[in-house]
């Protein structure tokens, strides 16, 4: 076996999407994937220690995760490009890791012109020159399918898991689904996992009131989805018995966004232009939730996230116009669990009282 020459690729932890990264690396590109360990306080502290002081928190967490991946044996790191500071993450992280003394190959998507299809092939060929492109394309699409299933099931999970009548079966089904995705090797594995979890969700008894509290979550792309980064906001909130709605996920933002460009039309009164990479979607969804009579909105971002700070005045306008309470949460590397819980409980009490009165 030529196992010695095969790359060991790693991508920093990002919510539960690493299952798809693993699938694409291993099944589509025929390289080994080193899964960085789940993010812990140590990851955060490692990253924060070596990062510039006032860079956004996802930079620190992904840097920490990269260090842990290198410790776990990765020899190639991948970093994505982006429209905000994210587009510059790669070069600075590479420099920091080199200065620390790590040796590795760094694939920085910001170096490529991601508007062109040819560039994607270049990247794939760089990761594995012997890759079979037709097989890659097919397997890559299966990885995408995995992300779509994950997002769909996660959305459904947080709409109902707070009302589980069995005391844990709902969560267990979701956990089983995640495990299946992390270990999937074929398309059939993915489809089976999806079918199984759908079936469970339909059969597990749910005890939902006729008009449950509904809360919409909007926010910055990394922090709003990554459970460690937002201190398990969604688990905490749904545990109180709240129906949670979050539009922002990889499926919507990347695979379906082009079809939803017209969302700008609905928020003409709030913004004329695209204000940032996720601004239009967040303002649109916040307005959508407000119009549908949600009981509250939560805006999640990491400290210093420029685009999301700029969205906040528009959210304040929505809050005033539709009389919907908005909780603004900012996460940095010091945010405490207890402080968040207190704020969430207060927010919950407030929207619950409003619901009874109004």
């Amino acid at each position: 076996m030529e196992a010695m020459s095969v790359r060991k690729v790693a991508f920093p932890r990002y919510a539960e999407y690493n299952c798809a990264f693993r699938y694409i690396f291993e099944e589509a590109m025929d390289v080994r994937c080193i899964q960085p360990p789940a993010i812990t306080r140590r990851t955060m502290e490692l990253g924060a220690k070596h990062s510039p002081e006032f860079v956004c928190t996802p930079f620190k967490i992904t840097l920490g995760s990269m260090i842990e991946a290198l410790e776990a044996g990765a020899d190639t790191l991948l970093m994505v490009h982006g429209l905000c500071r994210l587009g510059y993450y790669g070069e600075l992280q590479e420099q920091i890791l080199h200065d620390l003394g790590y040796r590795f190959d760094f694939i920085n998507l910001s170096e490529y012109d991601m508007g062109k299809k040819k560039e994607y092939i270049k990247i794939v060929k760089r990761i594995n020159p012997k890759v079979h492109l037709a097989k890659f394309a097919a397997k890559f699409m299966e990885g995408i399918r995995m992300v779509e299933y994950l997002d769909e099931v996660t959305a459904e999970y947080y709409r109902s898991c707070g009302f589980d009548a069995t005391g844990g079966q709902y969560k267990a089904a979701y956990r089983r689904f995640l495990t299946a995705l992390y270990t999937a090797r074929t398309r059939a594995d993915i489809e089976d996992a999806y079918r199984a979890v759908r079936q469970s969700f339909q059969t597990i008894p749910i005890n939902k009131p006729l008009r449950p509290l509904r809360v919409g979550i909007v926010g910055e792309f990394y922090t709003v989805m990554d459970a460690f980064s937002n201190l398990e906001l969604e688990d905490k909130l749904s545990g109180m018995g709240v129906e949670l709605y979050r539009w922002m996920n990889v499926t919507h933002q990347f695979f379906q966004y082009s079809a939803q460009k017209n969302m700008g039309v609905k928020i003409r009164d709030l913004c004329t232009y695209e204000m940032g990479p996720t601004a239009t979607a967040n303002i649109w969804y916040a307005k959508e939730c407000a119009e549908r009579g949600f009981d509250g909105l939560i805006h999640v971002k990491s400290a210093g996230c420029t685009p999301e700070i700029d969205v906040m005045p528009a959210l304040q306008t929505i809050s005033g116009t539709y009389k919907v309470p908005v909780l603004y949460l900012t996460y940095d590397s010091q945010t405490s669990d207890v402080g968040l819980m207190t704020r969430l409980e207060a927010f919950y009490d407030m929207i619950e009282m409003r619901k009874k009165v109004l």
């Binding site: 587009g87 510059y88 600075l92 508007g115 913004c271 232009y273 940032g276 700070i309 700029d310 969205v311």
Partner: protein, 310 residues
């Protein structure tokens, strides 16, 4: 539109005003539109802006909102362009994309009207198109607007060349030369950046501005230091450092807290540019300059000590 009485346009003296003032003034003058500029930044402007801004926003935005508030009710429109990109890897900080909508939401209740245009080369809207749109919004025929833009652009280029030439002279001067790497709206702002340059001059050093540089060449050369840097104004500064770091005695990385691009680019500069003494100075909304002066003083002492002059 208001064809009878020409509107008065307000220009906030903050952010891109420092970079584009010649162009803006010349353009509006050429069209015969009256403009009014807010006064220089002072403590009151900053305090008013801070009370309007989200706490975490950068110092520059707080100052900007203070200037917008100062103009509210004093003009028919406040001009805030959206500036997004000049090409691939030539973006602006997302804040400049958000500025017009941000201001409109913050000042929604004031009844103040705003005037904007969209500069986004990646989406096929270059500067000429943006100004054409702007002029037409004011009710001028395209032919007149195009001519006004052309004249204004020429005026800007002449003026800018003069500025660059003056800076180039400074590199050849004798004395302790310190390159200040900062955005124009930081280094030129009388309340924040000017205090730094003023102190340096008082201490006998020659402050040179990195952002006043042949922009095209600087953009090209910035790749030598940072190959994926994608912010237009940061690239100009990075390129300028590449071009000049061996001609100066020290570099001050001056930024406004917590500037997004600077938080990363300055870190990279500090990691990659060796051999030149460097000071990373972050300005925040604290009043009083004693702390900054102490740091500048010790920085100058270090340079002199290194050169054997102390």
């Amino acid at each position: 539109m208001e064809a009878k009485k020409k509107p008065v346009i307000g220009l906030p003296r903050a952010m891109l005003y420092y970079r584009c003032r010649t162009l803006w003034h010349a353009f509006f003058d050429e069209l015969g539109v009256q403009t009014v500029v807010s006064g220089p930044t002072d403590r009151v402007v900053l305090e008013r802006g801070s009370s309007r801004a989200i706490d975490e926003a950068c110092l520059s935005l707080k100052i900007f909102l203070g200037h917008v508030e100062a103009l509210c009710g004093k003009c028919d429109y406040i001009f805030i362009p959206r500036v997004s990109s000049f090409g691939r890897h030539r973006n602006m900080c997302t804040r400049f994309e958000a500025l017009p909508d941000l201001a409109m939401n913050v000042f929604r209740d004031s009844g103040q009207r705003f005037l904007t245009c969209d500069l986004d080369v990646l989406h096929k809207k270059d500067e000429a198109a943006a100004f054409l749109d702007l002029g037409q919004k004011l009710g001028f025929p395209p032919r007149v607007v195009r001519k006004a833009y052309k004249t204004a652009k020429k005026a800007e280029q002449t003026q800018y060349k003069r500025l660059v030439r003056a800076q180039e002279q400074l590199y050849k001067a004798d004395g302790l030369k310190i390159l200040i790497a900062a955005h124009s709206y930081v280094v030129e702002d009388p309340y924040i950046g000017k205090t730094v340059t003023a102190y340096l001059k008082k201490a006998g050093a020659i402050p040179i501005r990195a952002d006043l540089v042949d922009r095209e060449e600087a953009i090209k050369r910035s790749g030598e230091l940072s190959y994926t840097c994608k912010w237009e104004m940061s690239r100009e500064i990075v390129g300028s450092i590449v071009m000049h770091y061996d001609k100066v005695d020290g570099i001050i990385l001056l930024s406004a807290f917590p500037c997004g691009p600077d938080s990363m680019v300055n870190e990279l500069i500090a990691r990659r540019v060796k051999r030149v003494p460097m000071l990373n100075l972050v300005l925040d909304s604290q009043s009083g300059t004693a702390g900054i002066e102490t740091r500048l003083e010790s920085f100058i002492d270090i340079i002199r000590f290194k050169g054997g002059q102390l």
